[in-house]
């Protein structure tokens, strides 16, 4: 008990205890002579520290005058760019525009692919993707059969095209999201107060 309270006596003296801990120390002090003595001694030490005189330092005006003479020139490069400047907001704006563009392109592609699969665009031969032709050629080479007559290969072909389209779309969006996060991180780091470039001794 004594040890616990003793560890709190300094905080008690400094007014840094609150709530139940403060009450606990007060109640203990009321009943414990040893801890009261300990507190008294600590108070004496603090009084000694505060009463110790300091030497006469350089007058402040002289100090300021000397300091001003030694202040180095600041360059514009020392100033961090303001977070609200147009350049900072241009980066996410461009990224968002790129994201919208990619999203639109992939949505349209999906729509066209679906329409083509449903047979709505049968007469428009240029809409067939290269991947489809590749699958067909491979199937013809390996199996020597017509894909239109083989339902398994036809399904595999569609799954493959869908997978590639989906993966490409995902890759684009992930890249844009990463870039945006990167920008946010840089913005946040520059916005926060930077620690001084000196080591902190502990």
């Amino acid at each position: 008990m004594h040890d616990n309270i003793r560890n709190l006596l300094n905080a008690y003296l400094d007014g840094e205890l609150h709530g139940t801990r403060l009450l606990e120390v007060k109640m203990h002090l009321a009943s414990c002579e040893t801890c009261r003595e300990e507190l008294k001694t600590l108070r004496q030490v603090l009084n000694l520290l505060h009463d110790t005189p300091t030497p006469a330092f350089l007058p402040v005006e002289r100090f300021v005058a000397n300091l001003t003479l030694n202040l180095p020139r600041r360059t514009l490069a020392d100033r961090p760019p303001k977070p609200g400047s147009p350049v900072w907001w241009l980066v996410p704006a461009v990224l968002m525009a790129a994201w919208f563009f990619a999203k639109t392109v992939f949505t349209l592609t999906s729509v066209v692919t679906a329409a083509n699969t449903a047979g709505l665009l049968e007469n428009v031969s240029w809409l067939n993707s290269e991947q489809q032709w590749l699958w067909i050629s491979m199937a013809q080479t390996v199996f020597g059969i017509e894909t239109e007559t083989h339902p398994l290969l036809s399904t595999l072909n569609e799954v493959s095209v869908f997978g590639i389209n989906w993966f490409n779309g995902f890759l684009w969006q992930a890249a844009i999201v990463l870039l945006y996060w990167g920008w946010l991180t840089v913005w946040w780091i520059r916005r926060r107060p930077r620690p001084l470039p000196v080591t902190l001794h502990r």
Binding site: A11, K40, Q44, V45, P53, F63, N66, L67, R194, H201
Partner: protein
């Protein structure tokens, strides 16, 4: 009200100084010189070195001022620089905060009344006891007693948990008590 005005003025001065206004920075230095030089003196124990360290502190602060967030406490920021600058120098000087000859200002005072002489002797002993503390405990003690920072502020300045502040402060004060009890503390010495 006056406190708010003073804080607003300081904010304005900081913004002006961040834009390169040297006279605004001079005004900020006037406001914080006393606190900084006192803290540095208690860390190193030498008046001339403390003035040099205070100058180093304000020079570093000037260079890094554009990155300072005006919403934060300038005093605490300056103390952080001051502690680092002082300990850098002390480390370069092989962890010898004060040589005896560097405390001549205490000894060279013309002998006055007995009480004044005793006080000077006490001041010498106390500064030596502070100097004998490990730098981690000394920094916490000095920021608390001479920088008048709260535990929370000390934790922020030194970038350590508040529990560490408490344990280092306990250690420092207990050490001081042990050293000073035999030499200075007497039952009748109590101002409280």
């Amino acid at each position: 009200m006056a406190l708010n005005q003073s804080a607003e003025t300081e904010q304005r001065l900081i913004e002006q100084a961040q834009n390169g206004d040297r006279s605004a920075y001079g005004e900020l230095v006037r406001r914080h010189y006393s606190g900084v030089v006192n803290v540095v003196y208690r860390l190193c124990g030498d008046a001339h070195l403390a003035e040099d360290m205070a100058q180093e502190t304000f020079l570093r602060a000037w260079v890094h001022l554009p990155t300072f967030q005006p919403q934060s406490s300038l005093r605490n920021w300056l103390y952080r620089i001051a502690v680092n600058a002082s300990l850098d120098v002390l480390r370069r000087e092989h962890e010898a905060p004060v040589e005896d000859e560097k405390m001549q200002w205490l000894r060279d005072q013309a002998p006055g009344p007995e009480a004044a002489l005793i006080q000077k002797e006490q001041a010498l002993l106390i500064q030596q006891a502070i100097n004998a503390l490990p730098e981690a405990a000394r920094s916490v003690l000095v920021l608390r007693e001479y920088g008048e920072l709260s535990y929370q502020e000390i934790a922020a300045v030194l970038d350590i948990p508040i529990g560490t502040v408490m344990s280092r402060l306990n250690y420092a004060r207990n050490r001081l008590r042990e050293v000073l009890q035999a030499q200075i503390l007497q039952p009748e010495y109590d101002y409280a």
